[in-house]
């Protein structure tokens, strides 16, 4: 070792020591925990492993999107829980966006009443813990719904009762052809809009791609009904007498109150944050931008479509995705009202039955981590692609 290298090493030592200490303490902590866990598990006579996933679960789940019963494996139960989590998150995200955008625009309305109403909505629902809102909807509001025999009737096709919301079931024939037609329509729309953009930029020709797109979206699926052999029938729920005093609906799809309460609480709570994001996004566009657009003769719709929205979306989308992630994570509150999501099914029932705390909690947390990391890495990619390219 020559003198120069030694001096560099000496200089690097100041950088090296804290790093070595950090790593050392992390390794020590983890190995301490792992050692204790090993000892504890040995004492209880359980071995670490994921073999239990293939064992028979032998518990029932009240609400499932896929075939499931007690004879299926724990892995299947996990899948049921995961799908239920994704279902309620998707419903929640849809309605949260709908309410959030409406309220966010409402807060900027020139109409005093609408602006105030939206503000009150945001301030009320943002400042009450989500769990309390969930309890309120589930234990108070939805419990006040009528019994099946006095169900709220929507045109004789759908019934709202204390036991759930009964809606017609779709019975498809040749469903896959319908899906293919929708996919074909979407691909066609992409081509049309690309073509329209090219025409506009190169020749200045205007092609009404929006209307063509809407036409395609309806025409292709309609064609699949006419010539593709696709057929759709509805199974309408019917009130049946179970015994002298007990009535219930048979047929159709039952949306259980747990799902309704959870979707309502999640969407109404998250909507307040989305509303604030939308408001901040629109307010973030400088007045100069709108005036400049107006001065080159754009109409009001054009200003909104071409100038305000593209810039506002760049501000709105990143925090809103964050809210979508929060909503997905908050859907784990399902455990509080016994909606069979991944936490209740897996970290609740399955854990009680197997006693495998470390494996099950790690799988549950790992699943959420995977969802979060994949969405956030997608968002990072998206943000980079829409970022203003400065010269």
């Amino acid at each position: 070792m020559n003198l120069k290298n030694f001096l560099i090493n000496l200089k690097n030592k100041k950088r090296l020591i804290p790093q070595v200490l950090t790593l050392l303490s992390i390794v020590l902590t983890i190995s301490y925990f792992a050692f204790n866990a090993q000892v504890n598990m040995d004492n209880r006579g359980i071995a670490f492993g994921f073999g239990f996933l293939t064992q028979e679960a032998s518990f029932d789940i009240g609400f499932s999107l896929i075939d499931y019963d007690g004879s299926r494996s724990y892995a299947r139960a996990f899948l049921v829980g995961l799908l239920n989590t994704l279902l309620v998150s998707a419903i929640g995200i849809f309605f949260a966006t709908l309410i959030g955008v409406t309220v966010g625009i409402g807060r900027l309305s020139s109409n005093y009443l609408v602006a105030k109403f939206s503000e009150v909505y945001v301030e009320v629902f943002r400042n009450i813990p989500l769990l309390l809102q969930l309890f309120f909807w589930y234990f108070a509001a939805l419990r006040a719904l009528p019994l099946p025999e006095q169900a709220m009737n929507f045109n004789d096709i759908s019934y709202l009762t204390v036991k759930g919301w009964y809606v017609p079931k779709f019975i498809w024939t040749n469903f896959s052809i319908f899906i293919y037609s929708v996919i074909a329509a979407i691909i066609a729309i992409i081509f049309v809009s690309k073509h329209a953009k090219k025409q506009r930029e190169e020749f200045g020709k205007h092609i009404p791609s929006f209307y063509i797109g809407i036409l395609l979206l309806f025409a292709l699926p309609a064609l699949s009904f006419l010539i593709g052999g696709v057929n759709l029938e509805f199974e309408i729920p019917v009130l049946k007498q179970m015994s002298a005093t007990i009535f219930n609906f048979r047929g159709g799809v039952s949306i259980i109150p747990e799902l309704m309460a959870l979707a309502m609480a999640l969407s109404m709570y998250t909507a307040t944050f989305i509303a604030e994001n939308v408001r901040a996004g629109i307010l973030g566009i400088g007045k100069g931008q709108k005036e400049a657009a107006a001065s080159i003769g754009l109409t009001k719709t054009q200003i909104l479509k071409l100038v305000v929205l593209p810039q506002a979306l760049r501000i709105i989308i990143p925090p809103t995705t964050n809210q979508y992630l929060n909503l997905t994570k908050n859907s784990s509150l399902a455990a509080a009202i016994a909606y069979p999501d991944i936490v209740l099914v897996f970290a609740g029932t399955a854990l009680m039955q197997t006693g495998r705390a470390i494996e099950i909690v790690s799988i549950t947390m790992g699943t959420y981590l995977l969802i979060s990391l994949s969405i956030s890495s997608f968002m990072n990619w998206y943000n980079q692609s829409v970022a203003i390219k400065e010269k």
């Binding site: 309390l132 309890f135 309120f136 234990f139 705390a357 990391l373």
Partner: protein, 418 residues
């Protein structure tokens, strides 16, 4: 004289006003009689038109009084704020009608038909809310299962907390530092010992008996005190140029931010005891506070990092050129500015923390929401869920709303924009 009904103008101002106002009035009378007297004065019309009649009448009425530059200040103001075009007119009417329809029943339920006095469910005779339930259980909602005779200990702790926070604003700023140090380091120890007891002849009260709103405060206060410094260190770690420290901070932050709090609490309840040496036992409340602290610290770290990134490079360079080292630079130059920038973010994290505390029900600790869940299943008080949750929502709303308003004021006060 010709009336242009499509575009009302100033010339026939009063004709239009009388026409518009009377149409509006008929619309309002329709909805009011419908709501309060159960009388449908437009019942002779088809159902759908009868249902929409107040709206239709109102829109026409508002259309007639929409007169630009009428010269009447009140009218101009109404037109500008509620009636600038037909869509705004419809929206205004819908909002007003919703208020007329739903506010009186709500007020009736909350106050006029509610029962406040009494001691059992039988005292609730009205159609409205049964606030007797909240009255009877109030002590439990506030203190959980904490013995009645010892509740003065919790009260004294909170009064001391409020007094010392209040004195920050009253006393001259030179004492401020000491009070904050006292609050951060000495007060938690005193309060913890006072509430749990076991020393100085105070009766020992196990944490399982703690509960209600006071537990909400205890959990959030301790998590708040600890999560802030951890968050600051994690943020510095994430921006460090030492790879090992940087990547372990990133890993730590992303791990906690990627999972829901409820699974973290599950972990603290069922998984963490497996990691401790056999035979050792860590208090449930302590485990919960550690879990919440680590969880919120990750969020705090991201907020602080936002502030650090927003500072211009010149601040770092200037501090270094004065010969300051890493810690001196961050303590004296960087942190004061960075933290000021992220006050709203910090406040939001604290708010989120307070709103997250009800989740501790998963490990069996009952704060306010949990106590209501317990009370509503009491056989003597079945069917009181609505009252309980409305009360809890109100309490939490007051706390969170005042916190958010305070942070907005603080932000304004501390802003040093020139």
């Amino acid at each position: 004289m010709k009336l242009n009904t499509l575009k009302p103008n100033k010339e026939n101002l009063y004709t239009y006003l009388v026409l518009g106002v009377s149409l509006l009035a008929v619309g309002f009378i329709d909805i009011v009689t419908n709501t309060f007297l159960n009388l449908n004065i437009t019942g002779f019309l088809p159902v759908i038109i009868s249902f929409l009649s107040p709206l239709i009448l109102g829109v026409f009425g508002l259309h007639f009084i929409r007169i630009e530059y009428s010269g009447n200040k009140t009218l101009d103001r109404i037109n500008k704020n509620f009636n600038s075009n037909n869509i705004n007119a419809i929206l205004s009417l819908i909002v007003i009608f919703i208020l007329i329809k739903y506010i009186p029943p709500l007020l009736n339920w909350l106050f006029f038909e509610a029962n406040f006095l009494g001691s059992t469910k039988k005292d609730c005779t009205g159609d409205g809310a049964c606030w007797v339930f909240v009255r009877v259980w109030f002590n439990r909602f506030m203190y959980g299962m904490y013995p009645d005779a010892e509740q003065w200990r919790i009260n004294i702790s909170f009064i001391a907390l409020l007094v010392s926070i209040g004195s920050i604003f009253v006393l001259p700023s030179k004492f401020k530092k000491y009070i904050i140090l006292f609050l951060l380091f000495i007060f938690p120890i005193i309060a913890l010992n006072l509430i749990s007891g076991g020393i100085f002849g105070l009766e020992w009260i196990e944490t399982g008996a703690w509960g209600g709103l006071s537990l909400t405060f205890i959990v959030s206060a301790f998590a708040l005190i600890f999560c802030f410094p951890i968050g600051v260190f994690l943020a510095l770690g994430r921006r460090s140029d030492l790879p090992a420290i940087k990547y372990s901070s990133i890993g730590f932050i992303e791990l906690w931010r990627g999972v829901p709090l409820i699974t973290v609490l599950f972990m603290s309840a069922v998984m963490f005891p497996m990691f401790l040496p056999d035979g050792t036992y860590m208090d449930k409340l302590m485990r919960v506070i550690i879990a919440i602290t680590l969880f919120e610290a990750a969020y705090m770290a991201e907020v602080v990092r936002g502030g650090l990134q927003a500072l211009p490079r010149g601040q770092y360079d200037a501090a270094k050129s004065l010969g300051m080292g890493y810690w001196r630079m961050h303590l004296l130059i960087i942190m004061p500015q960075a933290l000021k920038l992220v006050i709203p973010g910090i406040a939001n994290t604290f708010l989120a923390l307070v709103k997250d505390t009800p989740l501790i029900f998963v490990v069996g600790l009952l704060e306010l929401a949990g106590m209501i869940g317990l009370a509503k299943t009491n056989p003597k008080w079945l069917g009181m869920a609505t009252e309980g949750y409305v009360f809890a929502a109100f309490v939490f709303w007051i706390i969170c709303f005042s916190m958010s308003r305070y942070s907005q004021n603080l932000e304004k006060k501390l802003s040093t924009d020139r």
